[in-house]
């Protein structure tokens, strides 16, 4: 494994929702371990039916397809449990394949990551 990248996905704004998957796939293409941490309105990205509501003109592919490709590539998805209430959701609202964590999960992963990015 050639290092690790963690990405903090804290917004469902289209300009912030797409780049984590683009970067993540790029990092997987050099065999890095990749973890995406979703919190605040970023949780809407991984809510059932959520990605379909986030569109970006001329994006390489729809957000839902980015999510599927990222999961297929082995990118790990972690949802912040503390922000469920803020985002008005429960864990049942999440798409399949998401790990539920908290700040300790993020800190533990980020402290030994080679790249940390925040959106």
């Amino acid at each position: 494994m050639a290092g690790k990248m963690v990405v903090f996905c804290g917004s469902d704004a289209p300009e912030k929702a797409f780049p984590p998957f683009m970067l993540g796939l790029g990092a997987k293409a050099v065999d890095m371990d990749v973890m995406l941490f979703f919190t605040m309105s970023g949780l809407n990205i991984i809510k059932k039916g959520g990605a379909e509501k986030i569109a970006l003109d001329n994006a390489p592919m729809p957000l839902s397809e980015f999510i599927k490709n990222s999961m297929d590539a082995g990118i790990r998805f972690v949802a912040c449990s503390a922000a469920f209430g803020i985002a008005g959701m429960t864990k049942e609202d999440l798409i399949d394949g998401i790990t539920i964590g908290g700040v300790a999960s993020f800190v533990n992963e980020a402290k030994d990551a080679d790249i940390q990015v925040s959106f």
Binding site: L25, A29, P60
Partner: protein, 75 residues
């Protein structure tokens, strides 16, 4: 330039050419040369960068109209 196999990435934008290159290179044995066809301008910087990170060899690129042909060798 001589090559063993072609990967058609025409119409695909970043990061897909790199993602597909990475997948294809896993199938190749050491010493084989892959030709990647792309019309994404970014490939000219991205492919040498990808090779630098992964340790594969960037052999060069050619342009034919909108099509960029890059050649990389699996180490």
């Amino acid at each position: 330039m001589e090559f063993d196999i072609t990967l058609d990435c025409l119409g695909l934008t970043c990061p897909m050419p790199i993602v597909k290159t990475s997948q294809k290179m896993k199938e190749l044995s050491s010493g084989k040369v892959l030709q990647v066809l792309s019309d994404d301008e970014g490939i000219k910087e991205d492919m040498p960068a990808w090779c630098n990170t992964t340790g594969n060899e960037f052999l060069g690129s050619e342009e034919e109209g909108e099509t960029i042909k890059v050649y990389i060798k699996k180490t």
